[in-house]
Amino acid sequence: MYDEPQILLAGDKSLVIELGNEITPELNRLVHGIASAIENADIEGLIDLIPTYRSVLINYEPSRIPLSELQSRILDIYTNLDEIDTDKTTLVHLPVLYGGDYGPDLEFVSRHTGLSRSEVIDLHSCSVYLIYMMGFSPGFAYLGGLNELLKTPRLENPRLKIPVGSVGIADMQTGVYPMESPGGWQLIGRTPVKLFDPMRNTPILLNSGNYIKFEPIGSESEYKTIASSVAKSQYEPKSELVK
């Protein structure tokens, strides 16, 4: 974490406030604290924000707010950011069916890590993962908190088509594919919950700064029951406010 935030220019319509140069939950919490303070400050000419691991990119309309004014507003917000409200963090529970056709690489992860399949599932589903940032594709969450015992390299030959909702491991990362796409992650399971649905009121389910926890689904029939209520827009994943 830097002693003073750095303001960096990213063209004539964007600037970056950079708060540090490492990946830690503490720094990331500060990022989300300042991002929401900027959003709530009702700044004229603000277009949108991209919070990341360690910085916030701010898009603005220079004809409505000059750079110098925006810069001083942002630094002002930073200075007055005394305590970040940590009570407001949301934990989302995502049901996942592990193994079988839904997680074709569970076997490989088990062999690679020397753990049994049920140990892999237990270790993966007992952690609480911090959503450091969203990016890569709409609704994709960069998660932190994978148990080191589960570390597994990517596939040597990436798949051309990975089904929506696939849960994978790549090295020290784990994540969920929000759209069908090519990719090289080891797939250990799949969630029936749609992380990305452009026509839904909340098009993207997850938000950076929140936490997620994977909940193992007992059977394929249970997966299908959830999937069909998701299709009818009758399913809300369980979520709670946590410290």
């Binding site: 990946i23 277009i47 990016g135 938000n207």
Partner: protein, 375 residues
């Protein structure tokens, strides 16, 4: 109210519906998409009196063949792909009235890459996350989330014949010149300090050619490598439109409309907003030369673009004499804001009742016209 406007006979190479872009969801990883040449896009709408964010067709190199399904008004801006209406050449940066059954086609790229076709009232496709822009990678927005295909029918706002603005044009001296080499103005940063001073000098003094691997997501360039001090990687941070990232091979990539929201390569500079269109209109093989400017110059240049968007009447307008309740009234062109159908139209029908709207001393009057005199 929207009605059928365009039938796609041939889709062209890559034709999509675009507006100014999908803002507000970048924090969820949603790319902005939107028109690649913001100036040409805005001009296309201004020429028809549309909202600045009216959805247009973005046409890439090979133009489509379209048939109009209602009487409306269109304008084509951006690249000169040699448009024709019923086989007669059209000018760019001008608006035209088209009749039901008219056909628009293109002879091929003469200059530039991307043309914008605007339709009076704007194209009606569903708003997805606040925008009509197509983002083909996720299959969302625009026309069914994809590029146009033969047989598609596109709707536009406004009743047939509701386009009532006189044909307009952008003054020739305000039309951008596309071509090669192109000087592209940039603002250094956010990570220019991660480069050797020699690397920055290389970047600013060399010629870079546009590679074949260039699309709506980004333009990959080829030229003398730009060297980092300590490697190309950083902890992923946000991408702005026009960000120029330098991966390990030292070859710049300019991130454009369909860019990802974040990335892990150092970014040496950002193209200023008013030069984004110049980049978007270059072809593989064209040459770019980068030049630094400061924020003040970039903001001035944006304002200058706005000034260049002023439209003027295509033909010198004439006064119109008409009878209102038996009284002869002259409508001077500076007052006529809308006349339905077209007061200037040679297709006028003496049996129709015309409605005129005029503005006098900031007050609007609308009345029926019973007799038209085109002298």
């Amino acid at each position: 109210m929207s009605t059928e406007a365009i039938s796609v006979i041939e889709p062209g190479l890559f034709t999509t519906v675009q507006d100014a872009g999908r803002y507000g969801y970048q924090k969820f990883g949603m790319p902005v998409a939107g028109a690649m040449d913001p100036f040409a896009f805005k001009a296309a709408n201004r020429l028809l009196g549309n909202n600045d964010n009216g959805a247009c067709l973005e046409v890439t190199v090979g133009g489509p063949k379209l048939a109009f399904l209602k009487e409306t008004q269109i304008a084509i801006t951006g690249a000169n792909l040699q448009p024709r209406l019923n086989k007669h050449r059209l000018n760019l940066w001008e608006s035209y009235i088209v009749a039901r059954g008219d056909e628009l086609d293109f002879l091929g790229a003469e200059n530039g890459v991307r043309a914008y076709i605007s339709v009076f009232g704007g194209i009606d496709v569903p708003l997805v996350m606040g925008s009509r822009s197509t983002y083909t990678k996720a299959g969302i927005g625009g026309f069914q989330g994809r590029e146009l295909r033969s047989g598609d029918v596109i709707y536009s706002y406004g009743e047939p014949g509701a386009a009532t603005v006189r044909p307009m044009c952008i003054e020739p001296e305000n039309i951008p010149i596309y071509g090669s080499p192109q000087i592209i103005r940039v603002i250094l940063g956010p990570q220019h300090t991660s480069f050797e001073s020699h690397g920055i000098e290389t970047f600013l003094t060399s010629e870079y050619s546009v590679s074949l691997d260039s699309d709506r997501m980004g333009y990959r360039l080829e030229g003398p490598p730009v060297n980092h001090i300590d490697g190309p990687d950083l902890i992923s941070d946000g991408n702005a439109c026009g960000s120029i990232q330098i991966p390990g091979n030292g070859q710049p990539i300019i991130l454009l409309s369909d860019r990802g929201t974040s990335g892990g390569y150092t970014k040496i500079a950002t193209v200023i907003t008013s030069d984004l269109g110049k980049v978007a209109q270059t072809m593989p093989g064209d040459v770019l030369i980068f030049e630094t400017v400061d924020i003040a110059a970039a903001v001035d240049s944006l304002q200058e673009c706005e000034n260049r968007l002023a439209t003027t009447w295509k033909e010198s307008p004439k006064s119109v004499l008409l009878k209102v309740d038996g009284e002869k009234v002259e409508i001077r062109p500076e007052y006529a804001i809308s006349v339905d159908p077209y007061l200037h139209s040679t297709r006028s029908d003496s049996n129709k009742t015309y409605i005129a709207s005029v503005k006098v001393l900031e007050e609007e009057f609308t009345f029926n016209i019973t007799d038209l005199d085109f002298d």
